[in-house]
Amino acid sequence: MGKRILVATRKGFFDVRRGRGGWRIARTAFLGDILSQAMYDRRDGTLYVAQSLGHFGVKLQRSNDGGRTWAEIAAPAFPKTAKKHGPSVDYLFSLETGGADEPGVLWCGTVSGGLFRSADRGDSWALNTGLWNVPARKEWNGGGFNVDKPGIDTILVDPRDSKRIVVGISTGGVWQTADGGKSWRNSSRGLYAEYMPPAKREDPNAQDVHRIARCAAAPDVLWLQHHNGVFRSTDGGETWAEVTTIKPAKFGFAVAAHPTDPATAWFVPGVKDECRIPVGGKLVVARTRDAARSFKLLTKGLPQRHAYDLVLRHGLDVNASGTVLAMGSSTGHLWVSESGGDDWTLVGANLPPIASVRFA
């Protein structure tokens, strides 16, 4: 575990492996294509890559042989409607497996705001109508990606009960189901939106959830990077408390939660929403090990002069032991830390803009 990283970029897929000599790019695929996600399904060993081709729409690719060969499978698509402006999937924003007890189940969050489920390893997909039909969806907004439509950027299946799922929507707040997706409710209490008029500041559907991460061993502990702050929940995402100790800034996209220690998490702050670069041109990772009472800024091995890397929502991941971290930036830098973030090694300096890194 922690010896292979799947990297999805704006111009292809990179399979990065740890060998005796260190980390290296072992294989590439889909060079030139816009990718948003790459995922390993540890239940059956399948690899998935999500493409969002600029001209030709969203596609999903699957590999049954560890990435040697790929085959296109079905991609999430909205049912046809009679309406002139019926929805279409613009971008595959998040991709996750179902629980350990539901082999073959996949979830995909899209820009357009649709959540899709597959029960057959992606051979077919169905729109989750429970969430799509909530009346509050009309209040969701653009800003999730570079189109003016909401995007589902996070899908967290509860390891204790696969029917309990938390999703994060940019913008639309935090939503939860306890019945496998039949019914949903917003659980954004404690979040606030500085970009809204005062009366709408705590509107649950106006909350811009950039990313949520969950402690696997203590699933009621969740960390949330919001458009204008960092929040933590200790009750399964029912309520959220702002983390005011985050430094050097409270804006950011990515968050990683330690898999076994609910007091540890990592963030990659940027100046602020209208200036999305590292503070002072210094790229830092902010780590707490005491449940957000304090943060340590981790800089060793990261550029501290004229660095303008932005780490996007899915650009930070931690392995199953909590010791190895992978971080990819919009500037095409890929770093790995094998010391929980204490020091970082540059693995690739000239990659395309990185959308997603994930341990296999």
Binding site: G32, H55, F56, G57, F78, P79, K80
Partner: protein, 85 residues
């Protein structure tokens, strides 16, 4: 039957040789092409059957829409718009 040709950039993603298909409109001809080559559909039209924003259709030398009429001797080109970086 109309002749349908596809941009070389699409061939990189999906098999799409030149096709001959019947139909009185661009849409009808393309539907017959998609019936024989189902994977091709989602590359050309979106979830609602609209031509993708960055795909351009031509009938002979004129930009065309799905509803436009075609004759048996016409040639439909499925090209891509220039965009991105």
């Amino acid at each position: 039957m109309a002749r349908v040709a596809f941009t070389g950039n699409l061939k990189r993603h999906v098999d799409c040789p030149v096709a001959q298909a019947a139909g009185a409109t661009v849409e009808a001809v393309l539907e017959n092409v998609f019936a024989a080559n189902p994977r091709l559909r989602s590359y050309v039209v979106d979830d609602q059957g609209r031509v993708r924003k960055h795909v351009n259709l031509y009938v002979n030398d004129k930009r065309a829409a799905l509803r436009d009429a075609v004759g048996a001797d016409d040639e439909i080109f499925v090209f891509q718009a220039l965009s991105g970086g």
